[in-house]
Each structure stands twice: as C-alpha cells, then as structure tokens.
C-alpha cells in the first residue's frame, strides 16, 4: 500500500495548493454566484490547469495524458476542494473522460482522450433522473433502434457541468424495465445534436449542474460506449472513480472549514477569554481532528486501491465516501455553530462549506447508501 505521498506527489500537491490559493480564492465562487455568470467557471483558468497537466493526470500517456493515478488526482482535487474551485475537473475528467477510458473502444479513446487531456473537450455523465436517487439502474430514458443507430428520449437531472459539456455521456435503456440491472446502455451525445435541450440548474451547493432533455435524439452505433445492455457495470465503475475524486475534494473542503474554525477559536473572545480556551469546544475540535485524519486515510486507501487494481477497491470507495460524507457534514455543522451568528450570514464564506458538504454528501450516494453497499460487497 502507498498511503503516504512520495516526493513527486508532495510537490504536485504543493504546487496545486499554491495555484489554487493564488488563482482561485473562495471569493471566486461568490462572484460567479452574484454575477449570474452562465458559464460558471473560467475558461482561461481551465487552460492554465491544462498547462499544468491536471486534465491529463488520469489519462494514459499513449492518449496524451500523464498516465498517473488517483493518488495524484486526489492531491489536486483536495486542494481544489479547499477553495471550492468551480472548474469542471470532476465532470470532464472523472466522469466523462473515465467513461471513454473504461468503456470506449480504441477508436473512441484515440479520438477523444487526447482532447480531454488537453482540456479542449468538456464531457460529462448524465445518468441521474428525477427519483433515481443513487441508482445507476433506475433508468427510464429509452434508446430505441433507429436507422443506423438509436433514438434516445428522456430527461436527466443534476448533470454536473451539463450546461457547458460538449459531449454528454447518457445512460438509456435499450432493454428491460426500470431498475433492471441489465439492459442499460451508455451513449455519447453531442450537445449540438438535434433534440437536445439543456437547462441550467441553480444548486444549493453551487455545483454547476443542468437538466438534459433528450427528444428523439438520433445517434449512430459508434456513439455506444461498451456493449449494448451492459451499461450499469460501466456506470458503476465510472462513478466509483468520480466518487474518489469527489471524496478528495470533500476532504479538502473539510480541512479548510476546520482550519477556518480553528483560527476563529484562537482569535474570537467571549466572556473576556478566547473561545478556544473552552474545554468543551477543545474536545469537539479534537474529535473533528480525529475524524479528519481518518477521512484522510480513507481517501488515500481508496485512491491507492484504484491505482493498484485491488480486489477490494469498490469496498474502499464506499468506505471513503461514507467517511468523508459524515466528516464534511460534521465539520460543516460544527463550523457554523462555533462561528456563532456570523457563521449564519451569507456574507461569511463558512456557509459555502456547509452547503457544499451536504451537496457532495448527496452526490454519488450518502453514507447510509455506502454502508449498505459495503455490507453487500462484504457478503453480509
């Protein structure tokens, strides 16, 4: 196991942290919210991230990437999570890019992955439907055979960065009924294709998202990723990887909120003394620290398991997502409470961290979902 960072990884993390601190303070996300900016991120900064190679970290060298792993990706995403960086790494690389990498044939990979790696192509995954909750098999969207391919109809919601994605990876049912694990297929759909309607959503946690409506959208056979009807396995694999990325981001957000709170405890006076001298708060801070360290281990363990192709990778992904979900919400709640009234104001940044914490908790499965999945994997 490689649970601690080697020198290269430490350097990568350090650089990512500096970049984020200098280029993307938390105030950015506030500005984007206030301005109603429809893009919701900076294409210029996205380009500079590509220069640093971030979009290519997970992509093999033969497709123009750096061929590194989740340990490295987690370093970058943890730092991005600290400042709630809005650029679409999660969607473009971990969802869209991974769908091609894990499900695509050689032609698809050769064509698309280099563009993902250099940041020129934005992809995302459109798998959730209203009421589908955290399931990949709850698919009502239907793909029927059409001349030379398929015609897809249905509605996808909470598509991360769906408002800007050039290509949408869409799950649709080619056979079976809702909740049937077989019969789901995965297609790539161009945003410009006839019948695609995209409506931007405004989320509580300020994660750029969209509704994607497909009205008899025709795609060719070459739009299929992986075998027809075998999409659930592909979706689960893709989402597992995105989940580790999200967990790293959540760890970063939790660390930042914790450190902001620690700083507040050390500077805020009440009743004539620093509130950080109150033992009840000290113990709660120490308990948060314990959870943060366990969360860090969980993320490292899951990343390492993916990188080494370990048998227990899926179980460790659930461990990580369950842990950081509970961790992020705990820290978010405690951060607000310890900040007192000021923490309840929209003006203070700490509220963003609570919102993002729960938003991410409810993305790719909350802790109860992952405990149940873990138990199933473990055979009990």
């Amino acid at each position: 196991m490689a649970l601690i960072l080697n020198e290269d990884q430490q350097l990568l993390k350090q650089m990512a942290g500096d970049f984020v601190k200098n280029e993307s303070p938390t105030s950015r996300i506030r500005q984007i919210r206030e301005s109603g900016d429809e893009v919701g991120f900076s294409r210029e900064l996205w380009g500079r991230m590509a220069e640093l190679g971030w979009q290519g970290i997970l992509i093999p060298e033969q497709y123009g990437g750096l061929g590194m792993g989740y340990a490295e990706m987690a370093c970058v995403l943890e730092e991005c999570g600290r400042k709630l960086v809005p650029e679409p790494l999660l969607s473009a690389v971990l969802l869209g890019g991974n769908a091609v990498l894990l499900g695509g044939n050689e032609a698809q990979k050769s064509e698309l992955l280099p563009k993902v790696a250099d940041g020129s192509l934005l992809m995302t995954l459109a798998y959730q439907e209203k009421g589908s909750r955290y399931s990949t098999s709850q698919v009502k969207t239907a793909a029927t055979s059409a001349a030379g391919g398929y015609a897809i109809s249905g509605e996808k919601v909470l598509v991360i960065d769906g408002h800007v994605a050039d290509k949408l990876v869409v799950s649709a049912r080619t056979a079976g009924v809702v909740d049937d694990p077989d019969g789901v297929s995965v297609f790539m759909v161009d945003r410009e294709a006839a019948g695609v309607e995209i409506v931007q959503q405004t989320t509580m946690h300020l994660r750029n998202s969209a509704i994607v409506r497909l009205h008899d959208v025709e795609v060719g056979r070459d739009a299929l990723l992986g075998a027809e009807g075998a999409g659930v396995a592909l979706l689960d694999d893709v989402i597992d990887r995105a989940t580790v990325g999200l967990a790293a981001e959540m760890l970063g957000g939790s660390l930042e909120a914790f450190e902001m709170t620690l700083e507040y405890l050390k500077t805020r006076k009440q009743f004539g003394v620093l509130i950080g001298t109150f033992q009840a708060l000290k113990h709660r801070a120490a308990e948060m620290f314990v959870e943060l360290e366990l969360g860090r281990s969980a993320v490292a363990g899951a990343a390492q398991a993916l990188d080494s192709g370990a048998d227990d990778a899926r179980a460790l992904v659930s461990v990580a997502k369950a842990r950081v979900s509970d961790l992020a919400v705990l820290v978010g709640y405690e951060a607000i409470q310890m900040h007192g009234g000021i923490g309840m104001t929209d003006e203070h940044d700490i509220g963003f961290y609570l919102k993002r914490a729960r938003g991410s908790e409810l993305t790719f499965g909350d802790s109860a979902f992952h405990r149940a999945r873990f138990a199933t994997i473990q055979g009990y």
């Binding site: 959730q128 209203k130 009421g131 909750r133 955290y134 919601v157 909470l158 409506v199 931007q200 959503q201 405004t202 989320t203 509580m204 946690h205 994660r207 998202s209 509704i211 805020r268 006076k269 009440q270 009743f271 004539g272 109150f278 009840a280 708060l281 919400v329 709640y333 607000i336 409470q337 007192g340 009234g341 923490g343 309840m344 104001t345 929209d346 003006e347 509220g351 609570l354 919102k355 729960r358 938003g359 409810l362 993305t363 909350d366 109860a368 149940a372």
Partner: protein, 402 residues
C-alpha cells in the same frame, strides 16, 4: 349560570359572529410555519394579507382582546386569569387565528405593565394593543455574541436627552419595526453587568440606519442597526438608570420560551414519514422500505414525543400554580437541537432533490426543505447558544463548580 359560564357563552357567540372565516385556521394546516406569513405583526409598515385580517384586528382590539389580561385603561381586556383562559379556549374552539402577534404583546408590553412609568404605559400600551406599532429587540452587538453583558453601545446625557452611538446586530425585523427596546451602556466604569440601561428608541429618530443581514438560507430575518448620535429623551428609560440588566433578564426568559414554543407544534410530527414515503418508498405492508431511515424517523419522532411530554409537565405544574421545575431549563437547548436534527434528516430523505436553490428541476416544497434546513442551523445560536444553555444547566441546575 355562573359568571364564568355566562362569560364563556357570550365570548363564544361574539367570536362566532365576529371572527371572519378567512381568519380561522384550516384544520390540517395548523402549526405549519409557512402560514406565519398570514399573521399580523402590526406596525406602520404592516400590509394586511387581506381585508379580513384588518377587520379582525380592529374588532378584537376594540374589545381589548389582543391583550386580554392587560388593564382596560391601557387598551387591554381587563380579564382575570380564568376569563383569559376561557377566551383562549373559545378561540381555539372556533380555530380563530390570533389577530395580532409580536414583541409588543409578548415582550415589551408585559415589561411596561410591570415596570413602566404611568406615562410610558399610557403612551405605548394602547398603541401596542391596536397593532399600531411594531417592536424589535436591540440587545446583541458585533463582538458580544453569547456574552451579552459585554455590549459597547454608549449613551451619554445631554440635557434632557441621551445621545446614543454604536451598533446593534441580529435585530429581528428591525427593518419592519417602528420602535426598538434596547440595552445601552450608560456607565462604562462599573462591572459589565452594571452600567447598562434599558431604553426605548423610535426607529424614525435621526441617526438610525438599518441594514438587513442575509443568511445562508437566503432569507433576511435579521438586521444590523447603526446608531449615530441618536437623541433619545431620558423619559424613555424603562426601570432605573443602570438597572437594564434586570429588565433584560426577564425578557430574555420570554424569548427563550418563545423560540422553543415555536417548535413544539406536533402536527409536523409525521412530515418526515410523508417525505420518506414519497422519496424512499414503502414496502407491501406500508412500511418505509429503508429500515435504517425508518429507525431514524422513529427516533426523531420519539424525541419529539418526549419533549412534548416534558413541556406538558411544566404546563401542568403551571396550571396548579407551581413554578417551572428544573426540566424547563432544557427547553431551549433540546427544542433547537431536535429541530436541527429533524431538518437535517429531511434533507437526507430528499436526497438529490434537496440540492436545489431555485429554478427548474425542483418543487417549491423541496426548495423549502433545503432553505428551512439551513435556517434551522441558527436555532442553536440565536436566543442563547446551546453551549450557553449547557453551561447554565451545569451551573444552576447541577451545581457544578466554576
């Protein structure tokens, strides 16, 4: 027929005749906090939700029944306790909404009845009873937080006036209010609990400016109030100069009770169950299909039952004239923690449908769950933090050493 019985009959008849149908609770919606918007807070900025609301207030105020137990000379109803109880019961019987609510009736009014000068009573109480002025409370300041006595806003005597300078925060609906009752430091050279005076302030006075504070939930129930050389006549002091802390303690008690009361409605008890049926589903027997969710909802519901029973103990004791026992010290703490837990669970039950802020893809009910959840996080901060409540229990009830 006893006097009380005949009072009951007359009251019932009067209410039946005078309470407009639109000012009666729909049976199922009682206690739904969304409906609080229908209620009349009074004041010059009041816009009535409908014509009936105004009629209802005027009719009740004319009888003095907006403040049933206050003396008639100050605009109250002059009822004794037994009569007031009958009025309350009969209002419940016809499901009448209260004609008027707010800090005037529940906080500053009772204080003036008990501690105001005759002049103050005659000046303010009738206006309060008629809903003509709305009040806000100016206690907290930036930096004071839980340590209320550390306040810094200063008043210095200048002729017949005090001149006030400083800043108040967390003033609920200061932007909607006509008057503020506030705590002001009048003597900086004595220990902090002394040297504070309880002052009534006209929000129209020159030098008063108000700015709403936007919360993480998106709502703005609180304001910052800036006082810049604001002149207040010295006869607007309540109680003795430098004895404001005594006045404040009585009112703070009131506020804590109100906050916990706000969560003690039991009609919401099963909202979680309804949400779970919708968002999680049920099995063939009508049980929530996820047993873990069901277990947590049962826990929260039981918590609520236990809390209601505890409030019930205090109410029973009050009925037979006993002082509230030690159990009443837990009300603020537990009601707010429970409310937070309940809202937190509602978000979990909604799952991804709780991710909305506005716009397409989410029902209004879903958006309300999310925003109410965010708002609930402040419950354990406002009106005395949970930490302060635990400190109070440890010290006053358990007698643990400092």
């Amino acid at each position: 027929m006893s006097d009380l019985e005949s009072f009951r009959e007359q009251t019932r008849a009067w209410l039946e005749e005078n309470c407009p149908q639109s000012m009666r609770w729909a049976p199922r919606k009682r206690g739904n906090p969304a409906l609080a918007d229908d209620l009349v807070w009074g004041g010059k900025k009041q816009t009535y939700p409908n014509a009936d609301a105004k009629v209802w207030l005027e009719r009740m105020a004319a009888k003095g029944w907006t403040a049933p137990t206050w003396p008639r000379e100050y605009g109250g109803g002059g009822l004794d306790k037994a009569q007031a109880k009958i009025l309350s019961q009969e209002m419940s019987a016809v499901r009448a909404k209260p004609p008027l609510i707010g800090f005037g009736l529940t906080m500053i009014g009772p204080l003036l009845v008990a501690n105001g000068s005759e002049e103050q009573k005659l000046r303010f109480l009738p206006e309060i009873c008629r809903g003509e002025i709305r009040w806000c409370q100016g206690y907290s300041e930036p930096g004071s937080g839980s340590d209320l006595a550390s306040l810094q806003t200063r008043a210095v005597v200048d002729g017949d006036d005090y001149v006030l300078n400083g800043q108040k925060v967390w003033t609920s609906y200061a932007d909607q209010s006509d008057w503020m009752f506030c705590l002001i430091r009048t003597d900086p050279d004595v220990p902090k609990h002394q040297g504070i005076t309880f002052i009534l302030l006209d929000m129209q006075s020159p030098g008063v400016s108000v700015q709403a504070i936007k919360l993480i939930s998106g709502a703005s129930p609180f304001c910052e109030t800036f006082l810049d050389d604001v002149r207040v006549p010295r006869d607007q002091v309540v109680g003795a100069v430098n004895d404001g802390w005594t006045m404040a303690k009585a009112l703070l008690g009131h506020e804590r009770t109100m906050i916990s009361d706000a969560f003690s409605e039991s009609s919401e008890r099963n909202q979680l169950v309804e949400l779970a049926r919708t968002y999680i589903g049920e099995d063939g027997d009508g049980k929530i299909s996820d047993q873990v969710v069901r277990d947590k909802i049962a826990q929260l519901t039981m918590n609520k039952v236990c809390f209601d029973l505890t409030v019930g103990r205090t109410k029973e004791a009050a009925k037979i004239g006993q002082q509230p026992g030690p159990e009443s010290s837990i009300f603020k703490y537990y009601a707010t923690e429970l409310n937070k837990d309940r809202h937190s669970m509602m978000v979990s039950v909604l799952g991804p449908q709780a991710l909305g802020w506005e716009g397409e893809g989410f029902e209004q009910d879903e958006l309300d769950v999310t925003r109410s959840w965010l708002r609930s996080r402040g419950n354990s901060i406002e009106g005395g933090t949970s930490e302060v409540q635990l400190n109070i229990i440890a010290k006053r009830v358990l007698g643990l050493p400092e």
